[in-house]
């Protein structure tokens, strides 16, 4: 396969950045999208040029590191698939492919295709946990949990924290990410003692980080490589509202 690539190059956080055109000729359909970029990078290094920087690690769709916007869609057009699991057989010989970073106000570009997603870290630190010290736990089977709730919690817990939901949202909202974590714990008895405080403080942090608001585009669900459904956003909104009116505001 021969492809024309248009790749976002940006020297650093303060550089304006631009699209640059590359021609790659010996792309095989068995390559993953990132392996195709590896081939380009090897070529660039041998030509004395700087390789394209992009985040990646596990290359099996679970670590959440890879984060490219391919032809305008976070992780590309293949449904329920991370960039690292997207393969070149999904493209055609002669295609032009536009590769950009995940774009969002809260995800500033660090270099080329690498963005800073530390806002997610701070949201997690604000409340994405159950406060239990090591050694405090009760016997695991002393707390039966309905299979239905456990399964639903698992649906939410599958989130890989990649940020595609934010990049896909016209508002740059992080509602799907935050609601997945909030709902996982809200569905489980272990999560109840801190339920109200958690949703208030995670949502509070989300707003501080500059993520937009949800206006029901549902683009997040469409882009999510783990197919996390938007009903978790509804769940979180309900939880947030209830908590807002019943939880005393902390000083």
């Amino acid at each position: 396969m021969r492809l024309k690539l248009f790749i976002w190059r940006q020297k650093n956080a303060t550089d304006k950045g631009h699209m640059e055109k590359y021609q790659v000729d010996d792309v095989l359909e068995d390559m993953s999208f990132l392996e195709m970029l590896d081939v380009l990078n090897e070529k660039l290094i041998l030509e004395g040029k700087e390789p394209v920087a992009f985040d990646h690690d596990c290359r099996e769709g679970i670590c959440g590191a890879c984060s490219l916007t391919i032809n305008g869609i976070p992780h590309g057009h293949e449904k329920a698939t991370t960039t690292c699991q997207l393969h070149m057989r999904k493209f055609k010989d002669g295609d032009s492919i536009y590769i950009e970073p995940f774009r969002a106000k809260a995800f500033p570009v660090i270099k080329d295709l690498v963005v800073d997603r530390s806002a997610f870290e701070r949201i997690m630190q604000a409340g994405g946990f159950i406060s239990i010290n090591t050694g405090n736990a009760i016997e695991a089977n002393a707390l039966p949990i309905s299979k239905k709730n456990a399964d639903l919690a698992m649906d939410a817990a599958q989130c890989i924290g990649c940020g595609a939901c934010v990049a896909a949202c016209p508002n740059g909202a992080a509602m799907l990410f935050v609601s997945a974590k909030v709902s996982q714990f809200a569905l489980l008895p272990q999560g109840q003692p801190e339920r109200k405080r958690r949703v208030l403080s995670m949502v509070g942090q989300m707003e501080k980080e500059g993520f937009g608001a949800c206006t029901n585009f549902y683009e997040c669900e469409a882009a999510c490589p783990k197919q996390i459904p938007v009903r978790f956003i509804a769940m979180m909104n309900r939880d947030y509202l209830c908590s807002r009116v019943t939880e005393p505001v902390e000083a």
Binding site: D38, S118, F129, A153, M154, Q158
Partner: protein, 637 residues
């Protein structure tokens, strides 16, 4: 050098309790006067950092990823073992202990393994309390399954993403501690060296992966939880960034490296498709429950699998191991696959693949049942290979997956450098020569949640610590060494990329030190590796600057260490002149192909001491004593 394992005396069952009582304690109010550095934030690192912070110690944690949640523990699929015996099928701490020692082919310490089995139950409690959504029965209680050939069902799981859920649990605990300012978290910082002052580990030197800044951090103890070295084979199921640098730097500073030749090969991975390939993807071993493994009977049979009639297929595992068949243990199925491919009967584009065929199961159970059991795996396979495994048999081939070897540690998880503790896959201690399925997650979390929080306190209490800070000459010296190395890498300006050298190294290691090893091959590899290394330092090219995010520089530093470390691995494989577990020396096997141990000469841990680049390291021995189990031959006929 005498390697003192510090295993407590007394009956096996009481060792850990006795040890916990005998350890010195640090008063609650004094804990904040001690600082620990944790490098790596996978299961072992994140759980350790959080647990130590909860106790009141000052903790600084480091990862080269953009978030602690990306560590490769996240990719573990199958599950985590514990001796809860919920299914009432005869499991016990003793049985888990015994299975682990036996599975490790009697090359692990009894004391360590027994403790691991003991705390396994606490891990499940802890994870459930954190909100880890393990699979449950309709009655609301936890579900278990049998895994990796175990005769009891002791594996807890969260769909096919157990590693992810456990890591996110540990990450949530870590996030809580970071939010409370009990842990200072440094993302995108890679440890490049360790600093020893007055023979104690007192800090690390890191490179900031965004701006290239070389920085020092001091502490009273350093914990490495930096994973395994499977990427020495270039292609493995490890993540791209997994590397040996942290462990290898510690080794160069005097920590001994134990049993590096124990590297586990996983039998069911998607085969290589070409030179561009960057990693091998593991398919859960559970597939072997319903798939039948075969290759064509005739060499070079290029027909499509469905065109090959039944009588021209060789179901070689069923033929050779009638009672275990397709479920033969990992090492045996891996070697058998290699054997048939070496005979020229392999399938896939490269000839290195075998079929895993579900046609019979689909006929017997219906497509729906197979879809329920393996739907997500079939989907993943189709995405990568582009073929539908419901219609065409899957192709699989073994790949490097896990490394049992690692830095030598005593019962307190401390290396031969005082204050330097090693956790998780990075240490060598619990799996012997072969790790059982669903035991890696167990060990990582045992070390982090339930061992190091006790033993590090004892270390602090028994030692005096001079005040140091990063202006100490040792830090300055180490920093300049790191800077010098970085500059050297940048200045070579040759003609080959870091990846090219890594691939070359991997090919040599896989060929001569992979699934099967022999004296001639290992000696050959010991000649080839130094040549690749020599060329690396003359003909490497990397572009970009040192003071910038520079992916080729990062890679080059890691490859440089792999090129030195590979020799240690080869020496270990050569001098362990027996077969045991995953270490298969072709000279030593039973007629049925099972590994033939030599307990008289090799019932010991081999720990290697650094003696300069290119020089043969010194082999030290820690004898293994078995007081509670009888050494037996593993048989899977």
């Amino acid at each position: 050098m005498i390697l003192d394992s510090k295993i407590p005396s007394g009956p096996l069952k009481d060792k850990w309790d006795k040890h916990k009582f005998e350890m010195k304690l640090i008063n609650a109010a004094n804990k904040r006067k001690y600082k620990a550095i944790v490098v790596g934030t996978g299961l072992a690192g994140a759980s350790a950092a959080a647990s130590l912070a909860e106790l009141g110690y000052v903790v600084e944690a480091f990862t080269y990823n953009d978030s602690p949640r990306r560590a490769h523990s996240i990719a573990a699929q199958g599950g985590i073992n514990a001796a809860k015996n919920y299914p009432n099928d005869g499991d016990s701490i003793w049985r888990l202990f015994y299975d682990t020692v036996k599975g490790g082919d009697f090359r692990a310490r009894e004391g360590n393994v027994y403790r691991l089995a003991q705390v396994s139950n606490n891990i499940i409690d802890q994870c459930v309390a954190q909100g880890v959504p393990f699979a449950r029965e309709y009655g609301g209680l936890l579900d278990n399954r049998s895994f990796g050939g175990a005769q009891v069902s002791r594996t807890f799981y969260a769909r096919g993403q157990t590693g992810q859920q456990l890591l996110l649990g540990a990450y949530s605990a870590l996030s809580r501690a970071i939010g409370k300012k009990q842990v200072t978290m440094y993302n995108r910082k890679e440890m490049l060296d360790i600093v020893i002052i007055d023979s104690k580990a007192r800090g690390i030197v890191t490179r900031d992966l965004i701006n290239g800044k070389i920085e020092s951090f001091w502490a009273d103890a350093v914990i490495l939880a930096t994973g395994g070295y499977g990427n020495v084979f270039f292609l493995s199921t490890n993540a791209q960034a997994c590397n040996v640098t942290a462990s290898y730097r510690a080794y160069k500073k005097g920590a001994l490296f134990a049993n590096p030749c124990y590297t586990q090969i996983h039998p069911t991975c998607i085969p290589l498709s070409g030179e561009h390939q960057s990693k091998l993807t593991l398919m859960s071993e559970s597939l072997r429950n319903d798939g039948r493994i075969w290759v064509p009977k005739n060499k070079g049979d290029k027909r499509k699998p469905n065109e090959i009639p039944e009588e021209e297929r060789d179901y070689y595992l069923e033929r050779k191991y009638p009672s275990f068949g397709n479920l033969a243990p990992r090492d045996i199925s891996s070697r058998s696959a290699k054997e048939v491919c070496d005979e020229g009967r392999g399938v896939s584009a490269t000839g290195f693949g075998v079929y895993l065929d579900f046609a019979d199961s689909i006929n017997r159970l219906g497509k729906k049942v197979i879809e329920e059991r393996y739907g997500n795996l079939f989907e993943m396979y189709e995405r990568i290979v582009g073929e539908d495994p419901y219609k065409t048999p899957m192709m699989i081939y073994p790949a490097s997956h896990y490394t049992m070897g690692g830095l030598w540690v005593d019962y307190n998880l401390m290396s031969t450098i005082p204050g330097l503790h090693i956790l998780g896959e990075a240490n060598f201690s619990d799996h012997g020569a072969n790790r059982l399925g669903a035991s890696a997650l167990m060990q990582g979390l045992a070390d982090g949640y339930f061992v190091i929080p006790y033993t590090i306190g004892d270390y602090f209490a028994r030692n005096k610590f001079d005040k140091v800070n990063i202006d100490h000459p040792e830090f300055k010296k180490t920093e300049s060494e790191v800077i010098e190395k970085t500059n050297k890498l940048l200045s070579i300006k040759g003609k080959k990329t870091p990846t090219m050298f890594h691939r070359e190294l991997g090919e040599v290691m896989w060929e001569f030190c992979g699934m099967g090893r022999n004296e001639a091959g290992l000696k050959k590899a010991l000649e080839l590796v130094p040549k690749i290394r020599e060329e690396f330092w003359q003909n490497l090219t990397i572009t970009g600057e040192g003071n910038d995010l520079n992916i080729s520089l990062e890679k080059a530093g890691r490859v440089a260490d792999f090129l030195e470390f590979a020799e240690v691995l080869l020496w270990d494989a050569l001098e362990r002149d027996e077969s045991c577990g995953a270490h298969f020396r072709e000279e030593h096997q039973y007629p049925d192909g099972e590994a033939k141990r030599d307990d008289e000469h090799f019932a010991h841990v081999a720990a290697w001491e650094y003696r300069g680049v290119g020089n043969k390291p010194v082999r030290h021995i820690e004898p293994l004593e078995f007081e509670n189990v009888q050494l037996a031959v593993r048989s899977y006929k």
